[in-house]
């Protein structure tokens, strides 16, 4: 039963995701105005030759800050998971 449901779900999702690959045309983006702006003006506005880095650190620098924060969060979380606990920190959950 469970296998059947799983199969059906996977099939539907497969159809949905394949629809995505059919709807878009590979190699020919429909619009490219934002990225063309980056390519044409990125170098003069930021001074970096690598447009990807320009985007990562200048145009979309805030995403990068968020992403560094994600890494920081993961480190804090892992540190909490493997921390050494005090003796009296046992709880009764039931």
């Amino acid at each position: 039963m469970r296998l059947l449901v799983t199969g059906a779900v996977v099939l539907v999702l497969c159809a949905g995701m394949l629809a995505a690959s059919v709807g878009l045309e590979y190699g020919v983006p429909a619009f490219s105005d934002m990225d063309d702006y980056f390519i044409q003006h990125g170098q003069e506005q930021t001074g970096g030759n690598n447009i990807v880095t320009d985007i990562v650190f200048d145009f979309r620098g805030f995403d990068t800050l968020g992403e560094a924060t994600v890494l920081f969060t993961a480190v804090l979380g892992i540190g909490l998971a493997f921390r050494k606990r005090k003796e009296d920190e046992e709880y009764d959950y039931e």
Partner: protein, 114 residues
């Protein structure tokens, strides 16, 4: 049909990852499935930005030519780092669970229910 290959592969990777998460009971396998889904999304993102005959958007030593779209690459970079952060966090959880429960079987890790 060969033309859309990267999109097809990305979709298939996502579906394979989802199937792994649903069908496999080991928690590490579940996390691996998640990583597969993430890889599929990354591939989709990068493939979306490809322009036929384009070159990488780096002006150092590049021939003057059409360039592929750079924004998706920045997004993919971000997503890769987010991916390893989540993967590491979840694997740590799995390790702690194994130490407390003695198992990493999703069907057995179910003290919270009802």
């Amino acid at each position: 049909m060969l033309y859309d290959l990267p999109f097809l592969a990305a979709a298939l990777l996502m579906v394979i990852g989802i199937a792994t998460m649903l069908l496999r009971r080991n928690l590490i396998k579940v996390v691996m499935g998640l990583s597969l889904v993430e890889a599929g999304v990354n591939l989709l993102l990068v493939a979306l930005g490809y322009r036929g005959g384009g070159i990488a958007p780096i002006f150092t030593n590049a021939p003057q030519d059409l360039m592929v779209l750079p924004t998706v690459q920045a997004m993919t970079l971000t997503n890769i780092v987010i991916g390893i952060a989540t993967t590491a966090l979840m694997l740590s959880f799995v390790m702690v669970i194994y130490r407390r429960y003695g198992t990493a079987d999703a069907d057995a890790v179910r003290r919270l229910r009802g």
